[in-house]
Each structure stands twice: as C-alpha cells, then as structure tokens.
C-alpha cells in the first residue's frame, strides 16, 4: 500500500525539503474539490474510514451547506510514491474559491510550488478558476491539469482537455482524469504530484521567515495561524515577531494538521503547519504577513503583504432594536476570525441603531450576515450595498463616502468610483447577451478570446457599483446559468453620479437613499417608489412617495388612504374574539417603523432593499396580518 502509517512517516521538523511537495487545488464551486480532498484523505489513510465524513475539511456549517470554502486549511499527507517507492510528505493547502477572497487565495498560492487545476469535465473551466489559474501561473506554480467527474454520463473529457491544454500550454493527453466520487485516478494523481511539483527551496541556516497564509480564531486556543516556512526553522522554544506590526509573541505550540492537529517540535524549510501564540484576534496575525524569530530576525519581509481593504459597504440593523448590543457582541466575535471585516456604529432614522460594515465583496457580505444571524440568533435588515466614493466638493474638499447619508449636499466638483476589470466566461452563443448587459452597466470592452470553439472569455472594465447591484444575478439569468464571472479592482474613475433620496410624505427615508449614475437615477427612483407603493399598507391618509435628486422630484407614486378598516358585526359573542384580534393588531403595530406619521412594516424595508421574490413574501406576510 502506498499509504504510510503516520507514526512511521517522516516527522515534522525532520523532513528534508526534497521529500516535501506543497500543492493546492484550484477549482470552481461544485467542481468537486472537497470530494477529491476527501478521497486523498482516505487513500493516504490519514483519516480512518470509520471517521470519514463528506467534505471532511470544511469546518463551518455554512461551508458544508453552500459547498464553498471560506477559510483555507493545510493537511499533511504522508505518501509512498508508486513511481520510485520513496516516502514523501504532501501538504495539501486548501484555497478559498471565491473572487472576494482573491488576496487570501494569492497567499495560499504563495505557500505552494504547484497547483492541481481541477475542472469538472461536464462543465469546463469557470471564470474564477481561470482567474486563480492566472494567479498561480504568475506565482510560477507547476500546474497539473486534472479533469474530474469522469464517471458522469455528461462528461466531455476530450473537449475540456483541449481547453485546458490551450490555457496552460500543455498537450491534451497531459490532463489527468479522475473521479473524486469513485476514487478513480486519485492514486496516479498523488504520484504525479510527487513527480511534477518541485520540492521547496529555502535556506535552513538563514534567519527564519514564514509566510502566514491563513489565520483562524478558535474559542479554546485563541488564534491558530497557518504558516509555510520559507527559510530557517520555527520551534516552540522561539519567540516570534510579526513583520507588519513588529509585535513579539511567545510561541505556545507548533504543529501540523493531519487532518487533526498534531503537535510537533517545530517546522523546517518548506514545511507547512500551524503556530499558536495566545493571540486573541486574527488582526494581530494577518494573512500575508511574515513571521520571523525575535532573537535572529530576518531583515526583509516576504513580498506581497497587503492590508485587506473593504470594497462594499452596507448597514446592518437588528429588526428588534433591543438586539443592538447583541449585534455589537456578535460583530466583535466575528472580527476575531475575520481581519477583513470592518464596522462602526450607525444610526438610521428609519432603522434605528446598527452598524455600517465594510466587506471584501458581496459573498463576504452574505457570509458575514448569515453567520451573525445563525451564530447569534439575530434577525437583521441590511441596507442596499454600496461602494466607496471619493467626492470632491465645490470648495475643493475631498470626502470619502461609504454611506449615501454622508454624501454632501450642495455643489459637487467630481465623484470618483472604484472600477474593476471583469472577466466573463460563457458559451459563445451568449456573447451578444453579455455584451448588452455590460454596456447597460457602463462597461468598456477590453477584449475577447475563444477558449475553445464554442466558449469565450470576455473582458470588460466596469464600475464596481454596477456589479454590486445585481449584475451577477442578471448575468446568471440571462445566460441560463452558463456564464461565470470574476473581477479585480483596478482603480478609480470619475463618474456622473448623483444621490437619489426617497421621501415618504415628504420625509426622507435614509435607508433607501442611493448613489447612482445620472442615467439610472430615474430607473432607481421609479423602481423604489413603485416597490414601496406595493409594500406599504394603506393608511388613513394619502401617502405621497417621491424620489428626488436634491430638491428635484424625479418620480412619484402615491398610496391612497384606506377606506375601510372595520368589522361590521360586533354582538355579544363577538366581543372577546374582537378584543383578542385588537390585541394582536396592537402587537403588529409595535413592529412597524414610523417614518413621520407613516407606519412602515419591517418586511417592507427588507423587501424594498432586496429582490422581487422577497416582495412577494412580504406581501403574503402583510396579508396574513390583516
């Protein structure tokens, strides 16, 4: 058997770099990365078959349910190669699979010498995978192309082998064919990893430099930091120092994941493992930072460290105002594990007290919201997400606007907004559709290439704000789910932007204000006033709903006064029942938010800020209440 019992395998800290292979798997959601990883854990026998479970390495419920990896992991797999019968240690570094986490992906890649490019041979490569592949190639990683799911009836391995060969410059027959599900080809893949991926190179005698590629908060242990040693050696005896902060930490524990944590004496050149220093907050142990030893510090940090920069902002408000302290606690707790999450208290006339939060992107936002709701049992309203604007006022003042409410009144010299370079991969039949969508969203075509006869890569620059506003949903629905999208920020550009306010009976509702392109202002105004007309129940007076830019009304609707709100009959036997109904209605009224005199149901806020499907739900609820 090519598996080696753990106890007899080369031990951490005593494994020569020549025996090491560090690799990651680049794959799109659904392309079977977790299943392949499960299979590797099984074949190398690091997980007992009795303890095996699906998606073994995905730790959070959200990861399992959504089939995505939010945080990376590194697993040490002992392996005896079937080609040369020698013992090796394979470190499999799992990478997050989403555009929001590109920076984290790049750090994971920097910890590897090679990458398995895993593509579902019924679907072909997707835009995010392509983006990560390019990242890997920029990092000079050896790429092993692998077609997965060859057991599927719809598999087209020949077609997609051509595509992969063209992308990475190899021959179609160089693509390995595996099935994570049946295990077919996985042993060969492990052997090819040993054969093709170079062993790490580093100077064991130089001052220690280790790259942090992930950092996870654990309730019991504090922050667990995942590292790849580049030069020198890390051991429990060391005091370590972070390059970016200069802060010194005691080393409490060093170890490897196999796939449960195993304490070791240390980590040598090229090795991958974890360190625990007693730090309580991942922001003190940041991804991309360099760890060195305090006594013999390295002079130069490893390249590529960046502070995470939030790209998308949204307000999060508890539905029940009394939950505000609970939300604060939950955010504080989440931040221990999420260095990219930023927030500050915000108060909204309509929604009460909450937090303005900054996220890496839309998925990051969704995940944070879901975790807050799930782990702290909160029900939240989130306002429409927006990007960061640089506004220069008439008197030359430069403002950074992360919230429409901060948008200055009065004369504005110019507004700049973030721009991204977007890549869309899709079947060629959708070229027209995609170009139309990108044009609608103020895109500029950069170029287009055929990946194969019938699949294209289309590149555009687009304002990030346009992507944040349902671009992905539109792309998916207009291409019947076939298109995939990736984007990266490339800077800022001046835009013809205005702030649209929504007024109920003349009162501005801050939660509905939006910064939009001038040409879209009318669309936004009519959309929002129309939605609200549907969502706000009739009241005893007429309610004008207006959309305005400054003092200029651009759209208006009105909710007619309610004419009938009475039960016609009230005799002896009806009285108790009617009083109980009244009490229930009084409770319902307490859940209303008041905007001036107007009662707005919570669901109206939620639905107005989200999609059409939610509006139907809110209407159903409102009807139930009646």
């Amino acid at each position: 058997m090519p598996a080696i019992p753990l106890a007899k395998a080369p031990q951490p800290s005593f494994t020569s770099p020549a025996q090491l292979r560090n690799f990651c798997i680049i794959a799109h959601i659904d392309h079977g990365k977790s299943t392949l990883a499960d299979r590797m854990l099984g074949i190398t026998e690091v997980v007992d078959p009795r303890n095996m479970r699906a998606q073994y390495l995905d730790r959070m419920d959200i990861e399992r349910e959504r089939g995505i990896t939010i945080k990376s992991q590194a697993v040490r797999l002992p392996w005896r190669s079937g080609l040369d019968n020698q013992e090796y240690i394979l470190n499999m570094i799992d990478t997050p699979g989403h555009v929001d986490f590109t920076y984290e992906v790049s750090r994971s890649l920097a910890a590897c010498e090679g990458a398995v490019l895993l593509v579902d041979c019924a679907q072909g490569i997707e835009a995010q995978t392509l983006a990560n592949l390019y990242l890997a190639m920029e990092n000079n990683l050896t790429i092993i192309p692998v077609l997965n799911k060859i057991d599927l009836p719809a598999a087209q391995p020949e077609k997609f082998a051509e595509e992969l060969a063209k992308l990475i410059g190899c021959q179609p027959e160089d693509c390995l064919r595996v099935s994570g599900k049946t295990g077919a080809g996985v042993t060969e893949l492990l052997d090819q990893i040993v054969l093709q991926i170079p062993s790490p190179i580093g100077d064991a005698n130089a001052p220690t430099r280790a790259l942090i590629f992930d950092s996870v908060y654990d309730t019991y242990r504090g922050v667990v930091t995942y590292v790849r040693v580049i030069d020198g050696h890390l051991s429990t005896r060391d005091q370590i120092q972070m390059f970016s902060t200069g802060v010194r930490h005691e080393m409490l524990e060093v170890g490897v994941i196999s796939p449960e944590p195993v304490v070791s004496k240390g980590l040598g050149v090229g090795e991958v493992g974890y360190v625990i220093t007693g730090v309580k907050d991942v922001r003190q142990s940041r991804v991309g930072d360099t760890i060195t030893t305090y006594n013999n510090p390295a002079k130069v940090a490893l390249a590529g460290y960046k502070d995470p920069r939030p790209m998308v902002f949204s307000g999060l408000f508890p539905i029940d105002g009394a939950d505000f302290p609970l939300l604060r606690e939950a955010l504080d707790k989440l931040q221990l594990n999420d260095a990219a999450l930023v927030y500050e208290p915000e108060s909204s006339a309509a929604l009460g007290f909450g937090f303005r939060c900054g996220f890496l992107g839309l998925l990051h936002m969704e995940i944070v919201r879901e975790r807050l709701e799930r782990e702290s049992n909160l029900t939240l309203i989130s306002t429409a997400p927006n990007v960061v604007y640089s506004v220069t006022t008439g008197d030359g003042q430069l403002l950074t606007v992360t919230n429409p409410s901060e948008y200055p009144e009065g004369k504005i010299e110019k507004v700049e907004e973030p721009i991204v370079r977007a890549t869309v991969l899709a079947p060629a039949e959708f070229i027209g559709t995609i170009m139309e969508l990108c044009q609608e969203r103020r895109g500029t075509l950069l170029g287009m290439d055929y990946l194969s006869e019938d699949r294209v890569e289309i590149r555009y620059t687009l304002p990030l704000a346009e992507i944040v506003f349902d671009f992905f949903d539109q792309l998916k629905s207009r291409t019947r789910g076939y298109a995939s999208l990736d984007y990266e920020p490339i800077g800022e550009a001046e835009g013809d932007l205005v702030k649209v306010d929504i007024l109920l009976q003349g009162e501005k509702v801050d939660a509905f204000s939006a910064i939009v392109h001038k040409d879209k202002a009318y669309t936004y105004g009519t959309m929002m006033t129309g939605k609200l007309r549907e969502l706000i129940p009739r009241q005893q007076f007429e309610i004008p709903i207006q959309a305005a830019i400054g003092g200029r009304i651009i759209a208006r609707e009105s909710i007619r006064a309610i004419r009938k709100d009475v039960l016609a009959k009230c005799y002896g036997g009806d009285i108790s029942r009617k009083r109980k109904l009244l009490e229930k209605q009084k409770e319902g009224k307490k859940r209303m938010k008041m905007v001036g005199r107007v009662e707005v149901p919570q669901e109206a806020f939620v639905a107005a800020l989200t999609t059409d499907a939610d509006i139907d739900k809110a209407k159903a609820k409102a009807k139930e209440r009646e």
Binding site: Q540, K564, D565, A568, G572, G573, S576, E583
Partner: protein, 381 residues
Amino acid sequence: MNTLAFYVHIPYCVRRCGYCDFNTYTPGELSITNDFSVTSRSYIDLLLREIEYAREISTATVVPSIFFGGGTPTLMESKDLGRVIASIGSHFELAEDAEITTEANPDTVTKEKLHDLRAAGFNRISFGMQSAVPHVLAALDRTHNPENVLKATTWAREVGFDEVSVDLIYGTAGESISDWETTLDTALSLPITHISAYALIVESGTKLGAQVKRGEVVMPDDDQTADKYLMADEKFTAAGFDWYELSNWSKQGSECRHNIAYWNGDNWWGAGAGAHSHIDGRRFWNVKHPAAYTQKVIESGNPMQEQEILTADEARSEEIMLQIRLATGIPLSSLSPNEQRSLPSFLADGYLLGPAWEGGSVILSQTGRLIADRIVREILL
C-alpha cells in the same frame, strides 16, 4: 337598577349558508330523523333548566330585553318559544316595556306563525332579508324569493308587531353597486322601523372562506364595499332611519335596546348551546355542540365551557372598542391624554364629527365609521 338581558340561542337551521360561521347545525348534521317538534320541545326544556341556573347565579331583578337568535329560532314551535319567555318572566321580573325580539327567516314564516309568535309574547321581529337581488342571494346560498320579504314584513305589521327590522348584507361576490342600490330601495319600501346592514365578513372555516382561499370566489375590493356603506347611510338617513351603531339604523325610538346593552357593557345572560354571557366584567360561554350542551345541562344545569375575567386593561379596551361604534360616541373627558393623543389628526382628516368634538364628544363621522377599528387601535396603543 340591577338588570339582566337575555339572549337565547337556537342552534338549528334547515340548511347552512356558505358564508355563515354561527354556531348552528342542520338536522342532517345531527342525524335528526323524527319530527322536528320533538327536538324543539326537548331543547326548550334544557333552556328552561339553564334559566333556573341563571336565577341561582344572578342577583339581577329586572329583565329589560330578550333576544332569540340563531340558527333559526322560528324552527322552534312558537308555543315552545313562549315557554322560554314565560320562564324568564317567572324567575325574573320582565320589565313592563320589555323588548322581546326574534330573528326570522322570511321564507318559512306564515301569517299564522307570526300571529302565534306575537301571541307568545314577542313584540319585535328581525327578518334575514340579506339582498333583494336573486343572483346575490344565490351567491349567499339563500334561496328565498325576494317578494317573500314584503309579504312577511306586511303580515308582521298586520298581526301587531310594531317593531320590524330587516338584515342586509353587502359586499357579496358579484354584487354590483346597482345591485346594492336595488336592495336598499327595496328594503326602504318595506313597512319596517329598523335596518341592520353588514359588510360580508369572509370567515375562515366556512365554505365561502375556503372558496376565497382557493381563488374560486373573488371578493369585491374594500373600496367598493366602502362606497356601498356610504350609499346605504345616505339612503337610510334620507328615509328617516338614523344610524345609532355602525351597522344599525332605525326610526327614532326604534333602536334595538337589546343590542345597545352589548355595546354599553351591560349584563346579559346567553342561554343555549355556545351562547356568551357577560356579568360584571366576567365573560363566559357555553359548550357549542347541542349534544354537549344537553349533557352538561342535564348533569348540573351549568353548560359553561370557559370563562374569562377581564383585567382593567381588557375592560378598557372593550369599552372603547364598543362605545366608539355608537352614535353617542365617547366623552372626550373620559379619555386619558395618551388615549386622546392620536385624535386631533383623525379630526383634521375628517374622521370625527367636528361639532361633537367641540361639544366634548368623540363621535365618528361617516368615513370615520368605516375605519373604526383603526381608530380604536390608535386610541389604545
């Protein structure tokens, strides 16, 4: 004066109408196969037992009104209904001017039956007319010939009923504004002193409720129903019928005193299956099914299923909820500053009568009556 009004419930109907959620049963549902007079006699016997029980419980002396509702009270033998009146009269003191009402189905009464009812002691009768338009009646599962109502009300006057009322229902599916106008004009041509007009309430658990839920029946929108209310109020007022409660209009002096007792929070005893009672802040109600009612009465004379003792807040809620329905309204001085808080804006929007407000009373205007429940919520929140 320590008074106790009586409501007497007769839980039987020949057939059930699709919109009705009252506590009533058809002979088929109860597997009654013999002559209905037997059922009549034995049910009345039970009522007499319950009246004896009421006598034990209540400290009241005078009974100002009795109201027989259902169900269909006229399914009972008139002499049996008379036994109930006589029993109440013997255990309590029936006021000299006591108002004694029965509901009646215009289809099934004969002049002779009406004569018998009058002889049994009834002095007020209320006919379930609902509509004068055949397709509207059909939608309500009512089958009577609209002409029967004219006959029935005329006979009632002829046999000596001075107080004759009809019930109308508006807002039935398929009822147009002009259908409703026809109904109103027809009702106003009858020899009557009182009209009740109710917007149809779709109750869950009824045939109509299920049809609406399944989308088989589409109810007219509330705005049209509101227009119908306004039309009714205009026509009634012009014909000399003044509103004294949201859904009730009468000639001067012909108000239904029994119903006013409900809205004033007076004490009343509800006898019969499923009937509700109110005595000094305590509400209690009887078991609903005639079989369960029979068993309980035979066992102890007390057919009560459950009771609630109103808290001060609940009593206050009820008081406002009921009084606001009346043309006499609520004295402004009886409302706390917090309860009054929302009223000026309702006044400004025309939902309260201005002159009454100046005079210190909160009285709903025509449009205000249509949103009475909303105004109650605002007062109480």
